[in-house]
Amino acid sequence: MGVRERITALALREVHVMLIERPGGALTRIAAERSLAARGWRVAGSAADADALLCCGEPGPELEPLVQALFVQLPRPRAEGRAQDPGEVAAALDQIAASLQSGDVAALPAQYQPAPAEHGDQPAAPDADTDMSDGDGDHTETAMDMDMGGDDMDHSDMDMDMGGMDMSGPGGIPLASGDQDRDGLEMDVLAVRLGPVLPAWPAGLVLSVTLAGDLISDCHADTLGLEAEGVLPLPVSRREQAALVADRISWLLLLAGARRAERRLRQVRDGLLDDAEIPWCTEQLRQLTRQVSRSLRWSLRDLGRIDQDAPQDAGGPLDWSGDVLDRLHRRLAGLSGMVAALADPAALRDAPDRASMTRAGLDLVCDAVCGLDLGAARLVIASIDIDLTGRIGSHPAAVSAGSGGSS
């Protein structure tokens, strides 16, 4: 065994895998997370951190170009796998390991061969494709020219000579232009897309935000990957539904950095998928609720307050009122109710209503994050139960074809 092989073998003990979830692929993604943990591998937080990509669910025509653009941003050696359903995860990960072990750094998977965005080690130029697709917003410094109205010409000499987009910046990326933020300070303004591939982010959601510094000054919601082709079957069992609810709540705990609470909730989630005893789940949730109110009160209180009557006006299915902590408690209580109902055969009538996100609901999310910094905005978004899969097969166009942003 040569030195290179030894290094490769050692590195293969901790492969970082970026998970790309197609709406409807949540159960596959959860299976992938569990499989990664069991192998000692990690979920990668960004393309630069990843050794491999794993698509959870068939990407479909909307997500496919995005997956390709992300893949070429991975440092080499890199590998790629696809899992249509939870049963295919293990094989896909084995294939990733084999591909990384072979050290075949030059070859791209067959479907990427014609990809026009590949430029050796350089990330792709910000053409229309990559601009759309850079899920974690890393290379998307597409400036918005905010001075069209000419009202702030006196603030910055940089703005004097350009009427439209300036493509003369470094690497062909337009320079950030200036605008006033909420406090009237002149800030660089950047147009950034949040999602659809971000850690702890609702699958299929894309927020086009205008960042002044790290403050969100404008926001527009869109969806991606909700087209009807290749849609995965929705989870049917009530245990799986409860597990998905637990999964989405755990994002908020992850973003808040509440490690123990998050781990406990993930154990409940996995227990629900593994036929764990209902009383055990209930007890874990009870302890979790206590733990959360103790440790997160200070950091989540008074964040992202939504007026009592706003959700009803917006047609939202759930009660979104209060601050992030209120919503967290309400969702945990709802989850406890779902879990308790699992033990009760009499409650087997019909599954609880799925959260069905509407255009108005997404606009309300946008309103709630405008004026917040990115960190607070991520917490507010995670505090709202955004499940876009409820739209699949019913009215996919209703969300994605919506027009107009907020503010």
Binding site: R4, R6, I7, T8, L10, A11, R13, E14, E33, A37, A38, G40, R42, V43, G45, S46, A47, A48, D49, D51, Q73, P75, R76, P77, D121, Q122, P123, A125, D136, G137, D138, H139, T140, E141, P170, G171, I173, L190, L198, P199, A200, L211, D214, L254, L255, A256, G257, A258, R259, R260, Q267, S295, L296, W298, S299, D373, G375, A376, R378, L379
Partner: protein
């Protein structure tokens, strides 16, 4: 010392220091392991530092578009170097690489240099999230640095000296942590802050895809993550020197005591993450300016009065 002897001593110090820093890194890897109990997590954590080195060695760079390579790379390389320089003036059981009458000021200067390094690491890739992480770090640093400065002033006042050896000698009989617990806690908080450990890891947060170092690949990523643990260990060694009596202790040699105390502080600081959730930079500003600064000033006042009354030596 002659020049070759000094060089050998410096190398020995650097290697020994890096070996010590592996312990908190292993503990950190164990606490970050998402696997359920009974999956060999400790064994895996023990291998984690070596696995990460191998991963970094086998990975090619993936630079971002129009990155500021010079400044970014300089900061990435400088981070572990700053950590090594921090321990250069500590009295290590009779063995001392260099001595200075202003050792405390040296430490302070280096920990302010960390501001520039993390900001440059965020600036380098020309990418949104790392830059946001860099600015978050500046906000965080604004909040821990002033309390940290008052905290390190306190032992200096008690020892009538800025020299580490004098501070250790002044603790003969009673460790300073007993007289100045607030200063000790605030100092430790500062160490957590400049090594970006949870709960003060908001600048490297998961919400901004890894933040300040999120775009780093290969050896650059390794250098920053190793640098963070080296900074933690350097800060812990300084805390042990200033507040826990340095190498003082029964039976065992002084060097062993210093390592034991350093590791105790470092591991405790790594383990804080299990209890306290991430503190966002904007919340931490409130804590720093409204709570920590008054608390450290009161501590300094108390110690000064005690010294003035002759209660403290």
């Amino acid at each position: 010392m002659t020049f070759p002897a000094s060089l050998a001593a410096a190398l020995a110090l650097a290697v020994g220091f890096a070996v010590v820093a592996v312990v908190p890194a292993v503990l950190g890897a164990r606490l970050e392991d998402p696997a359920p109990p009974g999956a060999g997590r400790w064994r895996r954590a023990g291998m984690a530092p070596w696995v990460r080195v191998a991963r970094a060695l086998g990975q090619r760079r993936a630079p971002t578009l129009a990155a500021d390579r010079l400044l970014g790379a300089a900061a990435v390389v400088a981070l572990p170097v700053v950590a090594l320089l921090m321990v250069a003036l500590l009295p290590l059981a009779g063995f001392r690489l260099a001595d200075s009458a202003v050792g405390l000021v040296w430490f302070n200067a280096l920990d302010v240099l960390v501001w520039a390094l993390f900001w440059l690491i965020g600036w380098g890739p020309n990418s949104v999230y790392p830059l946001i992480g860099g600015y978050r770090f500046l906000a965080q640093a604004m909040s821990y640095e002033l309390p940290l400065m008052f905290a390190i002033t306190t032992p200096a006042v008690a020892a009538h000296s800025l020299r580490f050896a004098d501070i250790v000698a002044a603790q003969h009989g009673l460790w300073f942590v007993v007289w100045m617990p607030v200063a000790f806690v605030v100092f430790c908080l500062g160490v957590v802050g400049f090594s970006l450990l949870p709960p003060l890891n908001h600048p490297a947060g998961v919400d901004i895809a890894g933040g300040v170092g999120g775009e780093l690949t290969g050896l650059a990523r390794l250098s920053v993550s190793a640098g963070r643990y080296l900074l933690l260990t350097a800060g812990s060694a300084t805390a042990a020197t200033m507040f826990l009596g340095g190498g003082a202790g029964p039976l065992l040699p002084a060097a062993v005591w210093l390592v034991v105390k350093t590791l105790a502080v470092a591991c405790a600081l790594v383990a804080v993450r299990t209890v306290v959730p991430t503190i966002r930079a904007d919340r931490f500003v409130e804590v720093g300016w409204l709570v920590l600064i008054p608390a450290t000033l009161l501590q300094l006042l108390l110690v000064s009065v005690l010294v003035g009354m002759g209660v403290l030596p």
